[in-house]
């Protein structure tokens, strides 16, 4: 089990770096992080030694960058026929799903880790709360995991990467918007609080923002953990039931 996950993980990681995917993704991720932090987020105008401007845009950054990463995960295997090779090897679908997911997650973690100069910068400009920043990084990693699990599952539905991208971005948007003030205002006018809270509780935003305040609440960890488990389980079910086609 673990051994097979490791084999798949290594193959996937190798795949990222054997192609331009890794470099393009890393450069664009860092570039957009910069744009969001300094232009959209008005990092300097806020005159605060924190990384709020940086982290608050992560849901939107991931919304289209993560589907770009996950769209190929299974759709490409279907397209090239390598899925046939994969599933005629003595390997369980769950091992392949976890190996691929973990590789994508580690890769995203690497992209996130490469933003460390920002941390150094705020540290040199003032006295930031390092706990909050660390928690935000962890929260961002969970957020990325959620997007990745969704994207991986939806990629298994099709052999067309464009469709996989659009599906993942749409579902991802749903998970963001269900916590957005705009949507919640729309419901809070007439719906019972319980309904509004339930909608909000499904949202990436609600849980992510809670963590970026510096408190890693067990409830938020469970939320992201079960979200990932659910979508990865669905991913295995899709592969099991659709098989070759």
């Amino acid at each position: 089990m673990l051994r097979n996950i490791r084999m798949i993980f290594r193959r996937e990681m190798g795949g990222y770096f054997a192609t331009p995917i890794a470099y393009v993704f890393l450069v664009i991720f860092l570039f957009l992080s910069g744009i969001f932090t300094f232009y959209v987020g008005n990092f300097f105008e806020r005159e605060q030694a924190d990384l709020y401007a940086f982290f608050s845009h992560h849901p939107w950054l991931y919304l289209f960058l993560i589907p770009a990463l996950t769209m190929r995960l299974w759709a490409e295997e279907r397209k090239t026929g390598s899925i046939e090779l994969l599933f005629t090897l003595p390997l369980r679908p769950v091992e392949a799903v976890l190996g691929k997911f973990l590789a994508a997650w580690c890769f995203t973690a690497l992209a996130l880790a490469l933003t460390f100069p920002l941390w150094l910068m705020v540290a040199s400009l003032g006295q930031p709360d390092h706990g909050v920043i660390l928690a935000s990084y962890i929260g961002s990693l969970f957020l990325a995991g959620g997007f990745l699990a969704i994207g991986s599952c939806l990629s298994a539905l099709t052999r067309n990467q464009v469709i996989a991208f659009v599906l993942a971005a749409t579902v991802g948007l749903g998970f963001i918007l269900s916590g957005h003030a705009m949507v919640l205002d729309f419901f809070s006018g007439w719906a019972p609080t319980l309904v509004v809270d339930t909608i909000a509780s499904f949202s990436f935003l609600t849980h992510f923002e809670a963590i970026t305040k510096g408190v890693i609440d067990l409830a938020d960890v469970i939320y992201f953990g079960s979200l990932m488990a659910f979508w990865l389980f669905a991913n295995v079910v899709v592969l099991d039931s659709r098989g070759g086609d």
Binding site: N4, M7, G15, T80, E84, L85, T88, L89, D245
Partner: protein, 317 residues
């Protein structure tokens, strides 16, 4: 080693495989023949556990495939149609991955990879990304992956498709080499492959099994089986044709060639008749100037056409 019973696969409205049964034992090489779209690949995908059958069952080494697919997959080496691989990998890293999944590690893993690279002659390209390889090398990478664990069961979907004649020869030699202690199924639409490689032939068309027999029996289905081609060093085949036509067991005589210096005739036997000796005797008695006498073993292409077109007309009736 492989036993399939009443295997059926339906894709929406198409019955790609329709109630097929056969067995393949150790030491046998089953040639799976059929026109495009006959259902060869679909059958192989079910045997290798990639697709699940709509009906029927598959037994691998005495155990139902469905009961323990992983155990079956460990025993099987499979070359899918078109030899898919991950294009960004090199043959060496690809085989390393396969060896890892197949459960080899350390020195044994390295030994297997080296031996396989050697065996299918991948040495010169071992560090080159698979996407940059020629079709012949890609196919060898696929073969390498299938035989790396020295499987008891080897399933190959069109292993020589798209290779040049030398490469085809090499792959056939490789298959013959491994045949003794394995159960092998290979699909092909190149009929000439059957004679040198296969110990049995299964013909499939429109999802149905039309024949499962020895290559010799298959050849005998040809109209030309045991036909005698007679070349005479004299023109004017008329009287000769007449004399041959009266011979017992002869179904007909065709003139294949005719010029001032000689003629070539083909004498077709009635089904099941052997006429070569009688033709020879007649030629001697009559004092014909025989320049050549040749007995046809039958043409595979012909046998194949006879078999598959017959079923077509029946299917449409």
């Amino acid at each position: 080693m492989i036993e399939i019973r009443h295997l059926t696969k339906r894709f929406r409205w198409i019955k790609a495989v329709d109630d097929i049964s056969f067995e393949v034992n150790r030491g046998e090489v089953l040639g799976f023949l059929g026109p495009n779209g006959a259902g060869k690949s679909t059958t192989m995908k079910m045997i290798t556990g990639f697709l699940s059958p709509t009906a029927g069952f598959i037994t691998i080494a005495g155990r139902p495939l469905r009961q323990d697919p992983l155990a079956a997959k460990r025993r099987i080496g499979y070359l899918p149609e078109g030899a898919p691989a991950w294009p960004d990998m090199t043959p060496e890293s690809f085989l390393g991955f396969i060896a890892g999944i197949r459960g080899f590690s350390g020195a044994e893993r390295r030994r297997r990879i080296e031996a396989t690279i050697e065996r299918v002659h991948l040495g010169p390209v071992r560090h080159q990304p698979i996407e940059t390889l020629s079709k012949g090398f890609k196919r060898r990478v696929g073969l390498a992956q299938a035989i790396l664990h020295d499987p008891e069961i080897l399933i190959m979907d069109e292993p020589t498709d798209g290779l040049d004649p030398n490469q085809k020869q090499e792959v056939r030699a490789l298959i013959r080499d491994m045949a003794a202690d394995k159960a092998i199924i290979l699909s092909t639409h190149i009929l000439e492959e059957v004679r040198p490689v296969c110990t049995r032939v299964a013909v499939i068309a429109r999802g149905r099994l039309l024949a499962d027999e020895s290559p010799a029996a298959f050849e005998a289905r040809s109209r030309l089986h045991n036909a005698v081609t007679l070349t005479l060093a004299r023109p004017d085949p008329g009287p000769v044709r007449q004399a041959l036509g009266l011979l017992g067991g002869v179904a007909g005589v065709d003139t294949l060639a005719e010029d001032a210096s000689g003629c070539t005739l083909r004498i077709l036997p009635q089904p099941g008749q052997v006429i070569a000796a009688a033709v020879g005797r007649l030629a001697q008695e009559q004092g014909w100037p025989v320049a050549g006498l040749f007995v046809d073993r039958g043409h595979l292409e012909e046998a194949f056409r006879v078999l598959t077109t017959r079923s077509d007309t029946r299917g449409e009736a």
